[in-house]
């Protein structure tokens, strides 16, 4: 008996999280999240992905503490220094700015792009896809043809056109990327909707008197969500690259804002003589893209409903 109370006291949270008889809605949800999290941590690739993304977030939040110099302080006497020289960890660029510090501050821009695109495009795509899939008929045809038109354009070209029309700048670049990123989510969500919309549980919801809005948001969207989330994490790399590409073309972040794509763009001129100016931000993009890809791959294993049904 004393044994019991002891284990209850010490492993209270653990027991609460692994209980097979949850006592409240909140606990039931916490248990689901806990088990998904545990599954995720079992996959070493997922852990690498999580560590990279956590590092990116910490870097963005604590940029002033991590950076060794202000990102935009120029020192023409110390331009194009090699990595390690004079305390410049990753060297300096053509205006003598510390590359490490610029990468650290640039993570804020990257995170901003990723967060805003991840919050807008998938939600819009999810709504379009589930509405088209559920209602069918003309709604489906019209929405899907619009999606096809957006899909037919190469993403960077369409984003270029938007930015050219709206004017260069990081906010417009994010907007342009979001506008070009939603069609795949609409496709995924529609495909998923078509597989579940004839299911008995949807018929049951309809029989309960549920309206179309309730069926879409409460019953169909949860079934599409995992595929969309997986797709988002896999697309993150592409989104970062598009943002970098726009920055590279001078249509994204404007100087002197530290942004990885723009940094590569200016470093390109010195690529043969001073390789580190373009390579370091390129490595940063590579690592972060890799992190999102690894996480996306492992999320697929955890969130796939068919895997969870076993």
């Amino acid at each position: 008996m004393s044994d019991m109370t002891h284990s209850e006291r010490s492993g209270g949270l653990k027991a609460w999280l692994t209980s097979d008889t949850p006592a409240s809605r909140f606990q039931a949800r916490a248990i689901n999240i806990w088990f998904a999290w545990r599954d995720l941590l079992r996959n070493p690739l997922a852990v690498i992905g999580i560590v990279i993304i956590a590092a990116l977030i910490l870097m963005a939040v604590f940029a002033p503490l991590i950076a060794t110099d202000p990102p935009n302080r120029q020192d023409l006497a110390a331009r194009l220094l090699a990595p390690g020289v004079d305390g410049h960890l990753l060297g300096t660029d053509e205006l003598g700015r510390d590359i490490w510090s610029r990468i650290v501050y640039g993570s804020r821009v990257t995170l901003q792009v990723v967060a805003l695109v991840a919050l807008t495009a998938p939600i819009f795509g999810l709504v379009v896809g589930t509405v088209a899939g559920t209602l069918g008929g003309w709604t489906d045809r019209v929405l899907m043809r619009i999606t096809d038109i957006f899909l037919a354009f190469p993403r960077l070209i369409l984003a270029l056109a938007f930015v050219a029309a709206l004017g260069p700048g990081i906010v417009n670049a994010i907007f342009a990327i979001a506008l070009t990123a939603w069609p795949p989510y609409a496709r995924v969500a529609r495909a998923e909707t078509l597989t579940v919309r004839r299911a008995d549980y949807i018929a049951a919801a309809r029989l309960q008197g549920a309206g179309t809005l309730r069926i879409i948001t409460g019953h169909i969207m949860p079934m599409c969500l995992s595929s969309v989330i997986i797709r988002v994490t896999l697309d993150m790399a592409g989104i970062i690259l598009t943002a970098a590409g726009l920055g590279f073309l001078g249509l994204g972040a404007q100087p002197p804002l530290a942004e990885w794509g723009a940094m590569i763009s200016t470093g390109r001129q010195y690529l043969l003589s001073h390789w580190w100016v373009a390579t370091m931000p390129g490595l940063a993009i590579l690592i972060v893209s890799l992190g999102f890809n690894l996480l996306g791959d492992s999320l697929r294993d955890v969130l796939d409903p068919r895997g969870g049904q076993k």
Partner: protein, 258 residues
Amino acid sequence: MSGPQSAGNAKIAVSDLSVTFTQGRRPVRAVKGVSFSVKPLESFGLVGESGSGKSTVLRAICGLAPVSGGEIRIDGAAMAEPRDKAFARRVQMVFQDPYGSLHPRHTIDRVLSEPLAIHRFSDREDRIVQALKDVGLDARFRFRLPHQLSGGQRQRVAIARALIVEPEILLLDEPTSALDASIQAEVLNLLTRLREERNLTFVMVSHDLAVIDHMCERLLVMRGGEAVEALERSALADHAVSSDYTRTLLTASEGYVR
């Protein structure tokens, strides 16, 4: 085929019902002019082999199948197209497959609170607890997901979900065919008890004459989308059947019972 329509006191009156599905360009007539009527508080059975159109009749009553002819009346009144919330309060259905009729990502709690939210019930908490108790499920199942339950437990949840809005009519689409024999009996007894307690009218579909014999006072035998024969339960016991097909079914079910 069935007896004369007594539209006055029939709970459900189905007359000359036809259902046509369009598959590609070829129309498939799943139900061809079926008529029957169900009295208040009665348990009515629809029997037939797979593809006889018996489940489609149930789905047509709920508005889930495209009606191409005839009419369905409940308490003498035609129903709104599409079915409205008022209909949902009066008529509920239990599906055949308990693995497919519960949302895989909704906890039992969510499954039961959803209809309460739709129909704006106020004392939801009490009703959910009571609904679980009514179908003989322990309260600890409340926050589980369907895949953590057995088939019989899931079917109990489906029954609880159907009854939580206090309907007058319960449509049962082979509610036990996906379950083990022992669980089957439990669920059938549960349904019998709930019907008595709540004054329900049942329409039950099954391919198993023994189940229908156990549950229903009257039944309609269907084959190939058409009604073959309407029977009282006593006629089954006396073998007083007129069509050869019903006799075949009867022999088959007795062979199974022994």
